[in-house]
Symmetry: C2
Subunit: 117 residues, 2 copies
């Protein structure tokens, strides 16, 4: 899990390479971003992040696990994320991710977050 | 699950009776509201909802399940909620709830939401 969270920052966001999200999200994942409707399916999720990187000038997303609870073949993670945006300012959000195994790897199946302030 | 979601609206919010949250949240539940830090534990969560009902003039919260996935002894639910606030306007939010069994009943263990707009 920590590897995937770091991969999202170093290989997807910092390299502006949304194709690498194949290794982060399940094929039928759901993303629930604040201020927009739910996005369903990895291809649509790639479009969302492409737009977020360009629109916000998103430079880095550092994820830190606060709690992780295993249940059946899933994990429910609560975490905190520091988003560095275009002007260098950092926005902290909290998130919940439902992890599932997919092709032998742990991936994000449901991903929701909101701001702390 | 539907009963609990309706109970939250009819018995907690509409009656301004946060003591009834004993039947909604697990004792060690987590709530992650937009614009505030995470709240841990049912007693603190009662305080949060008491303040939300008073502060927003919250009159009703209608919950509708969009997807629910069972995993082990848990359910991860994605849903949509219509919040009716003091001036009668309705705010729609989307949410994710991690349900767990507690004292033989299904309850909310992790609860996070954010606005659609």
């Amino acid at each position: 899990m920590r590897q995937t969270n770091e991969f999202f920052d170093t290989q997807v966001i910092r390299k502006n390479n949304t194709d690498a999200l194949d290794r982060v999200y399940t094929a039928d994942a759901r993303v629930l971003p604040p201020g927009a409707p739910m996005i369903a399916g990895r291809e649509n999720i790639k479009g969302f992040w492409k737009q977020a990187i360009a629109g916000l000038g998103l430079k880095s997303v550092k994820l830190a696990t606060v709690e992780a609870e295993t249940t059946g073949d899933s994990v429910v993670e609560i975490g905190s994320a520091d988003l560095t945006v275009g002007d260098g300012s950092v926005v902290t959000v909290k998130y919940v991710v439902h992890w599932k195994q997919d092709d032998g790897a742990w991936k994000w199946h449901v991903d929701i977050w909101n701001p702390n302030q």
